[in-house]
Structure formats: structure tokens, C-alpha cells
Amino acid sequence: MIEGWREFVRSNFIYSFSRAPVAIGSFVIASSLILFAIAAPFISPYTPYDPATLNLMNGFSAPLAPNAFTGDVFIFGSDDQGRDILSTILFGMRVSLFVGFSAVFLAMILGVALGLVAAMAGGVIDAIIMRVADIQLSFPSILIAMLIYGIAKGITPPEMRNEVAIWVLILSIGLSDWVQFARVVRGSAMVELQKEYVEAAKLIGVNRVAIAFRHIFPNVVPSVLVIATISLALAIISEATLSFLGVGAPPTQPSLGTLIRIGQGFLFSGEWWIIFFPSLALLLLALSVNLLGDWLRNTLNPNVGIK
């Protein structure tokens, strides 16, 4: 184990990481944001979703200025209901990241499983899985996500809709994203299957299942990691978009996208902070995760993208 860790540290991976200020910067920002989000219940100055603590008189308070009525200070200002923007951002990031990670996780499990099955089974099974993937790929994922949302809304009784919303969101993003994983895994697995060490394994007497897990899978993992990081960035953006459009996280459990939607209404009336700070947070989050994923892709896959 220690030998392995030492090898990793000395590897080309860490070498290029330490020399890419962009990668380091985005890694630091992304991990900080994630940490803040996880710690939200502990570090947030107010509890914006507990109606008992809300005071309408605190509404529309400007950043850093003590409120005219109550004297409370809000670092990023407050919204129309008197909620502290900083706190809403922290909880909002929580939702955004939760949905993002869960969706990617779902897509990864589904995609990797189907991709491996397609590659190893071949024949009709492979053809079917790939056809389905192709068809789904010809539609933008946003559309599919919205469709799933629409259908779910249609079959859920109105009183349950808000509670179920987050899970529907995860489901819709996850189900629209599996294709990438499946394709990459299938492609990678098929390349590996052509390699001679697989033939050698068959000659030695290794059975098919063992070949899949012990030989093929470890060689497919790097590509999966690259897709996972890119997927995470995309999932965060998709979730924000869906929430912004009103078909994502509900106002009772808002993500950054929902906050921006709410804030857009106040853009022209002068309370700029309601939309500005959540936008900034989303920008930092999306940018840092995306840059990290981009760097990762360039490092692990020199044939894809530019050196």
C-alpha cells in the first residue's frame, strides 16, 4: 500500500498537477465550496428555512448594512422574505451538490454496468443497448430531464410534489447522463478485449466473469473517472438550469438555480444582491469543477483533446 502511494506521488499525474496553477486553484476552490456546503448547518449564520426565525421586517436588507428596523446585519443582504442570502447560498450549494453527486452516481452505476455488459456480451444485447443509447443521445439531456419531470409531476398528487421534487431531479439528470458512461466504458472495454493479455487469460483458464472484473474493469477505470468529473460539472449546470426554469428544486428546498430564479425578479428593481451572490457562487462552483475536469481529461487521456 505504501509502495503504491509513493509511486502515485512520484507519478506524472502529480507532477503535472503541481505545475498547473489552474488545476491547483480550481481544486482548492472546488474543495472549499464542497466543505462549506457540507458544513452548512453548522457554519451558516442564520437558519433561513425555519419559518420561526424569519422576520419579514428584515426583508430587502442591503449587504453589510444594518437593517433599518431590526438592526440585524446580513453579509450578503437579505431577500424579500427576510432570509439571509449567505445562508441561503450555503444551503443552496448543499442541494446543488447533493443532486449533482447523486445524479452522477446513478448515471455511473447504470452506465458502467450497461457498458460492460454490452462489451462483454456482444451480439444482440450490445446492439440493443447501443441503439437505445444512440436514440437517447440524439436528444439533449435537458429535454429528457424535463420530460421525466413532466411525467412525474403528472402522476404525483399535488401535495407530495415538493417533497418528491429533489428525487425526481436526481432521477431525471441521472437517467439522461448514463449514456456517456456506457459509451466510454463499452469503447474502452472493447479495446481491452482486443488486447493479447485477455487471450492469455483465456488460455490460462480464467472464466469470463473473472476476466471482466479482474482484468477489464481496472483498465477501464481511468476513463470512467474522467467522464465522472466532467459529468459532475454538467450535472451541476443541468440542475441549476432546471431549477432556474422552475422544473427543478422547489422554493422550499432551493438550489442555487432556484435562488437565481427568485432573484431575477428583483434585478430591475434595484435589489441586485438577491441574484448577484447566488450567481457568483454558482459561477465559482461550476467553473472550478469544470476546470478540474478539463485538466483531468487532458492529463489522463493525451489522445483526446490537446496536449
Binding site: 488486447k195 488460455l203 483458464g205 480464467v206
Partner: protein, 562 residues
């Protein structure tokens, strides 16, 4: 003096410090002569060619010395001046004809472009010149073929087109960088002859870069030997081969399989530190030696009858059925216990397919394969049968894809041991792995490393150790040394021979390289387009071939005699 290079030094900066690709190299070339630059991989020979053209791959830089061409200092020219020289004064033939031409343009378009660039001809005259060039390089029916696209030409034909394009500018110096390495032996001979003829008729200077000593022997007038960036010896070809002076040259020549006779062993090439001195293992009492037995005389160990394989291009519900290929056509042969049987053929002959039919990777369309009485296609049912089947193992061509890059060497070799029913402690298993490594001349420290830490030759040794771990009786060697440098090849061939003697193995040796097979095989079968056309004792193939195809192969085989 057409070209004079003095003390040329080229460096590549890298993460681990500067790498000196070419180290104070000097050579010269006259018109009308072919100078060969020979060396193994990494010697720096292609780099010299690139430097002359000014096409060094970044981040390589020329840091010392001079290149004087026809009185001009090439290394001091500006980019623009260099561009004006290229094609017109200096031309280059690249290695892979399949990727040298623009796939989207016709041959005519590409030829016209180059001809018009380097001359003042009118378009009509240029078209005539293009046709002339195609005839010069031996392309028949040039008027029709000129309208075609590159993918409609075979590999050898494409290389001829490449040569025509190089000649289009009437250069005085032509650099040919491994021009025939990617081609079949029979095509290779004709291309080399073409180059040599053009050189002498047009009085141009040719630098021929290659790793193949036989090509050097047949095509060049003088030769420079390179090792690790340095030119260790330069002489005219005949003298160099007959009486080499530098130790490396001697070692290199001794590693080349002679085409005119069979030798016992390749004298060890000290310059390549690839092997570890063997710790001796008493095979009689060792686990590996337990299943070794004396070969039964005249017993047919492997019997192949009417073996046929047809490949159908993949058809799915959405596409109509495409054409099918007859890869193996009704092939019958037997291999005797303890012998070394060779199958030789060019690309597309079906030799690799036969290997995979025997090993079970492909299922034959027709025919049977019997191994020690066991019907490999239908009869593998009991545990005993499976055990017998494991007595067939294989060594593959590509050292880089024949080992799982994510497994340590120890795991790679233990896997077959465990599957073969090894019951012992962990320590015993590890010792066995070490012993197998010793057997293939690697040290025990190799066990904890990953494949990427090893060179090509070392990886092949690991592959052999893995195969031996199944205690095979029959070893299929599919082009095991084709991807290796000639000195490493010699060592691996020595190893294979030693192992055969110690463990009484039977070999099926597959290759396209006739001189190598002469050294290794007892009997040889010749395959062409899926059919077995001739089979006889090894020496007879070379001394008195019967079939016309075999005769052609022998005739066109590059000769290296010592």
C-alpha cells in the same frame, strides 16, 4: 561532396533532464551513392534525417555541429529558405505508406501540386510529367490510376506514389526513413530495388535509415552504425559486414539471423543489458520440472485436419450482410512431440488465424484439431480435459498489450499457478514466482513491479514466464520477436531454445521472417492466402524449394550471409 555533417548534436529537454538523441555524429555522402544508417530503436538514426530536413519534432533542438549541403550551411538557414529547399533539393520518404498521402485528394491532384510547385511547367505539361513519374516508379496503367484516391492503392503501391512525389521536385538528396518496414517482404524487395536504381540512374544521394541489417547488405554502398546517439563505425558495406571493427558492430552483426545457414546460438550481445544471469534451478525436483517427460518419438502431438475459417463481417439488424473473408482454407498438418514446427507467410496468409484456432480464441468453420488425442473443438468436458487443454500456451507478438498493465508481475505469474491447482503457502507461491522469473533470466525484484517498468524484451520474458507457469507441453509462439530489436531478438531466441531443451517443449513458431525461422525450426510450412502450399524440413525450404510461391519468397528474402 553532396552532404557533410560534422559533430552534429541534438538534444531533447525533458522532465528528467536533457536527453541527447544524437551525440557528435559525423558523416558524408556523395552523389550516386546509397549511405545506410543502421541502428536499433532509440539510436537516433531517424533524428539525423529529420534534422537535415529541418523537421525535428519539438522540443528537439540542434545544439552543436554543422550540416553542409552542396556548399550551404543548412542549419543556419531561415525557415523560409529551408522551405524553398525542401522537395526541390532535399526530399524524404516516410515509413508508413498508409498515412503518408492525403486521403481526400486524388493522386493526380497531389502530384500536380508538387510538380507545379517546383517547376515552371504549364498545367498540361505538368499532367504529362505526373504520368511520367508514375511510370518511372513502376505503376502500371498510370492514366487510369492517377484519377484514383489513396485508399484504392495497396501499401506497396502507395509507397511507389510517395516515391513519385519525392522525385517530382528533382531533389539531389533523398532521405528514406525505414521505407519498407511496414511492407511485406516480397514488396520490400521491389521497393528497395527501385530506390537503388533511381539513385544510380539519376545520380542523387540517398540516405537509407533502417534497423534491418539485411536491407543494408542488399541496398547500400556504405553504412554508418549508430548506437545510443553515436556513430560508432562507418565503412563501405561489404567490408563492414565481412570484418566489423567496433565491438557494438560486431555484436549487432552476430545477432542477425543469417539467411544462409543455421547456427547453434546467437553470441550474446553485451550491449543490451536485458537479462539477469541465471540462478540455476534443479528442474528434476522442481515443481516446474515435475511434468516434463521425454518426447515420444514420431508421436503426433497436434493434429490439424481440414481446418477452415471464414470470417463474416459483422452484420446487425440494421445493416445488410457484408462480404466474407476466407482466412484459412482447408489446412492439414501435424506437429510431432518435441519438434519445432514453423509456419511462415506474409500478411493475410492466415498464419495468425491458425494460431488462434488452435488456442481456441476463434472457432473454426470446419475441420478438426486434435491435441494429444483430445478433440479441442468438441471434447473438452471433464476436469481432466481442461487440464490437458492448459498444456497449450501462447506467446504473443506485441509485448505492450500482452501483459495487463494494471497487475503486478507477481500477480500475472501467480494467476496461472493458482488456476492450475497450486496448493501451498503464500511464501511457497512467491518462491515459485521467483523461480519462474529466474528461469527466464529476470531477477526476483521484478515481481513487485508493474509491466510499464520493463522494456519490450523483458516483457516478452514475463510473458514466457506466465506461459511456463501453466506447465505447458505445447507452446505457440506468434511472431514473438517481430516487435523487438535484433539484439534482443537474439537473446529471446536463445532463451526459447534453451527452454525447449530443458523442458522438452514442442513449439509452433509463426513468423514472416524466414532467416529467423531457419534458426529455430525443424520443419516449416508455407502459407499463402489461407492455404498451406508447401511443407518440408527447414533446410530444404531454403536449399530446394518446390512451390513457386516459396521460390519467390526465398528469392526476395533480404540476404544476410555470414
Amino acid at each position: 561532396m553532396l552532404l557533410a555533417i560534422e559533430n552534429l548534436t541534438i538534444r531533447y529537454p525533458s522532465r528528467f533532464g536533457d536527453f541527447t538523441a544524437v551525440d557528435e555524429a559525423s558523416l558524408h555522402l556523395d552523389r550516386g551513392e546509397v549511405l545506410g544508417i543502421v541502428g536499433e530503436s532509440g539510436a537516433g538514426k531517424s533524428t539525423i534525417g529529420n534534422a537535415i530536413m529541418g523537421l525535428l519534432q519539438a522540443p528537439g533542438k540542434m545544439v552543436g555541429g554543422s550540416i553542409i549541403f552542396d556548399g550551404q550551411r543548412l542549419d543556419l538557414l531561415s525557415k523560409k529558405e529551408l522551405i524553398s529547399l525542401r522537395g526541390k533539393k532535399v526530399g524524404m520518404i516516410f515509413q508508413d505508406p498508409m498515412t503518408s498521402l492525403n486521403p481526400l485528394e486524388t493522386i493526380e491532384a497531389q502530384l500536380l501540386e508538387t510538380v507545379l510547385l517546383h517547376s515552371d511547367l504549364s498545367k498540361a505539361d505538368a499532367k504529362l510529367r505526373a504520368l511520367e513519374l508514375l511510370s518511372e516508379v513502376g505503376i502500371s496503367a498510370p492514366a487510369e490510376r492517377i484519377k484514383q484516391f489513396p485508399h484504392e492503392f495497396s501499401g506497396g503501391m502507395r509507397q511507389r506514389v510517395v516515391i513519385a512525389l519525392v522525385l517530382a521536385g528533382n531533389p539531389d538528396l533523398i532521405i528514406a526513413d525505414e521505407p519498407t518496414t511496414a511492407l511485406d517482404v516480397s514488396i520490400q524487395a521491389t521497393i528497395l530495388k527501385l530506390i537503388r536504381t533511381l539513385c544510380h540512374h539519376k545520380n542523387v544521394g540517398v540516405i537509407l535509415v533502417t534497423h534491418d541489417m539485411a536491407v543494408i547488405a542488399e541496398t547500400t554502398d556504405r553504412v554508418a552504425v549508430m548506437h545510443r546517439g553515436k556513430i560508432v563505425e562507418t565503412d563501405n558495406t561489404k567490408s563492414l559486414i565481412a570484418s566489423p571493427k567496433h565491438a557494438y558492430t560486431k555484436a549487432l552483426i552476430s545477432a542477425v539471423p543469417p539467411s544462409n545457414r543455421r547456427i547453434d546460438r546467437f553470441t550474446h550481445v553485451d550491449f543490451a543489458k536485458d537479462r539477469h544471469d541465471r540462478k540455476s534451478i534443479d528442474l528434476k525436483s522442481h515443481w516446474v520440472g515435475k511434468e516434463v517427460y521425454e518426447p515420444a518419438a514420431e508421436k503426433e502431438l497436434l493434429k490439424v485436419q481440414n481446418l477452415t475459417k471464414v470470417f463474416n463481417a459483422r452484420s446487425s439488424i440494421f445493416s445488410p450482410k457484408r462480404g466474407s473473408t476466407l482466412a484459412v482454407d482447408n489446412v492439414t498438418f501435424s506437429i510431432l512431440d518435441g519438434e519445432s514446427y514453423g509456419i511462415v507467410g506474409e500478411s493475410g496468409s492466415g498464419k495468425s488465424t491458425i494460431a488462434r484456432l488452435i488456442s481456441g480464441i476463434h472457432k473454426p468453420t470446419d475441420g478438426s484439431v486434435l491435441f494429444d488425442g483430445l478433440d479441442l473443438l468438441n471434447g473438452i468436458k471433464s476436469v481432466q480435459d481442461k487440464k490437458k487443454k492448459r498444456k497449450i500456451q501462447m506467446i504473443f507478438q506485441d509485448p505492450y498489450s500482452s501483459l495487463n498493465g494494471r497487475m503486478r508481475v507477481e500477480q500475472i505469474i501467480s494467476e496461472p499457478l493458482l488456476l492450475g491447482g497450486f496448493e501451498g503457502s503464500k511464501a511457497e507461491l512467491q518462491q515459485l514466482v521467483y523461480d519462474l522469473l529466474f528461469l527466464v533470466e529476470l531477477e526476483s525484484g521484478a515481481a513487485s513491479k508493474y509491466p510499464h517498468a520493463f522494456s519490450g524484451g523483458q516483457r516478452q520474458r514475463i510473458s514466457i514466464a506466465r506461459a511456463l507457469a501453466s506447465r505447458p507441453k505445447f507452446l505457440i509462439c506468434d511472431e514473438p520477436t517481430s516487435a523487438l530489436d535484433v539484439s534482443i531478438q537474439a537473446q529471446i531466441l536463445n532463451l526459447l531454445r534453451d527452454l525447449q531443451q530443458r523442458l522438452n517443449l514442442t513449439y509452433l513458431f509463426i513468423s514472416h521472417d524466414l532467416p529467423v525461422m531457419r534458426q529455430v525450426c525443424d520443419r516449416i510450412a508455407v502459407m499463402k492466402n489461407g492455404s498451406l502450399v508447401e511443407e518440408c524440413p527447414a533446410e530444404e525450404i531454403f536449399t530446394s524449394p518446390q512451390h513457386s510461391y516459396t521460390k519467390d519468397l526465398i528469392r526476395l528474402m533480404p540476404k544476410f550471409e555470414r
